[in-house]
Every structure is written in C-alpha cells, then in structure tokens.
C-alpha cells in the first residue's frame, strides 16, 4: 500500500517582514557612511570651546604612523589636493567643509602640507579635536 506524501507548505512568516525591513534599514544606514575612518588609529589633540560639525564633504586623517587617508582610504600627499578638489566639485561656499583629523603627536612636516592642500582645493577647514576637561 502506498501512502501519499503531503507537500508541506514552507512560507516566510509575514510577521517577520517588519524585522527584515528594519534590518535592511540599519544595513543601508551603515553603508551610507561613506567617510568611515573608524578603523584608523589616531588620538585627537585637545582644545576648549569646540563646535559640533555633523556634515562634511570629505575627511582627511593623519594616523599614528603619519599615514595620510582621504575618506578612510590611504592617499599620497601629492594626490591630496586633487582628491579633495574632486570630492568638493562645484559645491557652494558653506558646503565645502573638510574635516581634518590629525594624531596629536604628528609633526608639522606632515600636517602643514595637508592644510595647504585642503586650502588649495578650496575646502573649509575644520580641525577635529577633543574637548579639554
């Protein structure tokens, strides 16, 4: 005697749709952080009376080993002005903020050239610092 097998219906429960949408939202929010340089090692210098800067066009970082990074990617000093200029494009004045993150022990030999390159590219320079207690 043969028994007929009933085909089991395997559906994704519709209750989970909200969870899936929420997870996708978080995923894309993380992806949208194009200037992610959180993996780089640096320690900011301290100063008083700082302001918050939420949005910026580009982020330039000099890490502990004096390596230069533009938006999280390593770049040579000679290519920096062009790189920043390309990112800024024809953005209007006031929307050309470039964040400069320099390790506190980096020397003038490295950061002065970077400041000059940002200025040359027409960026509004903002030094990222830590509030002095």
């Amino acid at each position: 005697m043969k028994f007929k097998r009933r085909a089991m219906k395997a559906d994704v429960p519709s209750v989970a749709m909200g969870d899936i949408a929420f997870n996708l939202l978080i995923f894309f929010v993380i992806l949208a952080k194009a200037q992610d340089d959180s993996h780089l090692q640096w320690q900011p210098a301290q100063a008083k009376q700082l302001q918050g800067f939420a949005s910026s066009k580009a982020s330039v970082l000099i890490d502990r080993e004096n390596k230069l990074h533009l938006n999280g990617k390593e770049i040579g000093q000679a290519q920096l002005a062009k790189g920043v200029g390309d990112i800024l494009g024809s953005a209007p004045q006031g929307d050309r903020t470039v964040l400069l993150k320099v390790h506190k022990d980096a020397t003038a030999m490295y950061y002065e050239a970077v400041i000059e390159a940002i200025s040359e590219a027409g960026g509004d320079l903002v030094h990222v610092l830590e509030e002095k207690q």
């Binding site: 209750v15 969870d19 929420f22 997870n23 978080i26 929010v29 993380i30 952080k33 959180s38 210098a45 301290q46 100063a47 008083k48 700082l50 302001q51 918050g52 800067f53 939420a54 910026s56 000099i62 964040l99 993150k101 320099v102 390790h103 506190k104 022990d105 980096a106 020397t107 003038a108 030999m109 950061y111 002065e112 050239a113 400041i115 000059e116 200025s119 040359e120 509004d124 320079l125 903002v126 030094h127 990222v128 610092l129 830590e130 509030e131």
Partner: protein, 145 residues
C-alpha cells in the same frame, strides 16, 4: 426576547520567541546611532597663498615661530614664554583694525607636534587675528649625472 450579539475579541500577543530578536535589533539600532555622533572641532580660515604674498608687501605682519619646545615661542624674533604670549599678542594687535593687518604668520619647525601647533593657533584666533602658514619649501635639486 432580544438576543444580544456577543462578539468575542481575540487577544493577539506578539510571540514571546521574538523578544530576543527585538532586543538584538534595538541594540544594533542604538549602536548605529551612537557611532554617528557629530565630530567636534574648530573651523580655521586660512588666507590663500597669493593673498598672503600681497599682504606681506603691504605691511609687516606679526611673525610667530614655533619649535618643538612647548614652553617658549619666538614672537617677531624675540623669545616669549607661552604664558606671556596672549598679553604680548594683544599688545601687538592693538590699533590694528583691518583684517589684513591682523594676520599672524606662523612658521613651524618640521618637528613641531600638532597639539602644540593647534594650541597656539587657537590662541591667535581667539584674539581675533587670522593665521597664515609659512612653510619652508622643499626643492629637489638634481646635481650632475
């Protein structure tokens, strides 16, 4: 006789199994929120290099030289203790009204650390002056072949 219609409402509760998922999602959400905190810092306006050259021709700007030593700086060639710098700069800036005159030329030795440089330039900006950087130009000279 009147029959009252009794409607039974079903109690719908979220499955207890999903509590872990919800907690996990909330953790991720707050982690993402925390990682997107705005950066804090200071804006710095630097005059363009061409403008600076013109200014140098017009008037004599204040010159501040920095070395690796954090306690002493050189102001117009005179060694000045960092503690006395605000008062000395204030005196030099007195009577200078136009922005072109209130420019301080900062010359740094190649080994000046960033925290020393930022502390000094912040001080200049707080006094209402603007800074300009004067760098020693590096040139590669090929000698013979």
């Amino acid at each position: 006789m009147r029959h009252e219609r009794i409607t039974k409402k079903l109690l719908v509760e979220p499955a207890a199994v999903a509590t872990g998922d919800i907690a996990f999602n909330l953790i991720v959400f707050f982690l993402v929120c925390a990682s997107t905190q705005p950066d804090t810092g200071k804006r710095q306006d630097l005059p363009r290099s061409e403008q600076t050259k013109q200014q140098e021709q017009k008037s004599q700007n204040i010159e501040l030289a920095l070395t690796r030593t954090r306690t002493v700086v050189s102001l117009n060639g005179d060694p000045v203790k960092v503690g006395e710098l605000p008062a000395r700069l204030r005196r030099l800036l007195e009577g200078k009204r136009s922005p072109e005159d209130r420019v301080v030329v900062v010359k740094s030795k190649p080994d000046v650390p960033y925290d020393h440089w930022i502390a000094t330039t912040t001080l200049i900006q707080d006094l209402g002056a603007s800074i300009t950087i004067q760098r020693e130009e590096e040139r590669t000279v090929v000698v013979g072949q």
